[in-house]
């Protein structure tokens, strides 16, 4: 059997408010991309729809494209539009 891919997902700002959680552990199918993961998250938290066109991803503390493939132990952050400063 293929190895399971267990990741940590972090939510910030509006994403955190919508999910009501700062982070969750998530099991995703092997070879899932960050974009695939977002689809899974949308089934769990349908209100993420509100922001899913404006978010970007960070994988292990670096900005990453939707297409990036997740590995076991990865930390995937959901980054809504930033507003620091």
């Amino acid at each position: 059997s293929e190895p399971s891919v267990k990741i940590e997902v972090l939510f910030f700002a509006k994403a955190r408010e919508i999910t009501g959680l700062p982070d969750i552990s998530l099991q995703v199918p092997p070879s899932s991309s960050a974009g695939d993961c977002l689809k899974i998250l949308l089934t769990k938290f349908p209100r993420l729809e509100e922001i899913c066109n404006s978010i970007v991803f960070a994988l292990n503390e670096e900005y990453a494209p939707d297409s990036i493939i997740l590995k076991n132990g990865d930390e995937l952050a959901i980054i809504p539009p930033i507003s620091g400063g």
Binding site: L10, A77, P81, S83, G84
Partner: protein, 148 residues
């Protein structure tokens, strides 16, 4: 509070439980007998936005990533300009009206380097560092987006 250990660059993301940013400490950090110029930038909480009365701002950050990116921005600034010392601080949690949310200080032998670097650092912070601000009004609140 998160410090990056490079001796001539100080980076702090200040936890929500802390009080105001200690601006003098950052200015004194960059003060240097070899420097002829110190430029600073302070971002402060405004009392109005588009005519709506702002009560306070609330900041949060992806702290380890933000700290890394700030260190990278300071390193880029050093590659571009001849700088002596840099201090960058961002406050988290509630920031009342008139208080500093972000503070940058840079020292250099020549003034253009200090001023250019200061501007580059705040522009890069606004463009790329994962920090979020919610504007709280008397009757509502909204997560802001940096447009620039």
């Amino acid at each position: 509070m998160t410090d990056v250990g490079e001796s001539e660059t100080l980076i702090e993301i200040v936890s929500p439980s802390s009080s105001t940013l200690d601006l003098n400490r950052y200015v004194n950090f960059v003060r240097d007998p070899a420097a002829g110029a110190i430029a600073t930038f302070e971002g402060t909480t405004r009392d109005t936005f588009d005519g709506r009365r702002v009560v306070e701002l609330r900041y949060e950050a992806y702290v380890p990533m933000a700290t890394q990116l700030l260190a990278g921005i300071c390193a880029s600034a050093r590659e571009t300009w001849a700088l002596r010392r840099i201090a960058v601080a961002h406050r988290l949690g509630t920031v009342p009206i008139g208080e500093a949310s972000v503070f940058i200080a840079a020292s250099a032998v020549h003034r253009a380097d200090a001023m250019d670097a200061c501007r580059f650092i705040i522009d890069e912070i606004k463009a790329s560092v994962p920090i979020w601000k919610k504007e709280v009004y008397e009757n509502g609140e909204v997560w802001k987006e940096n447009k620039e």
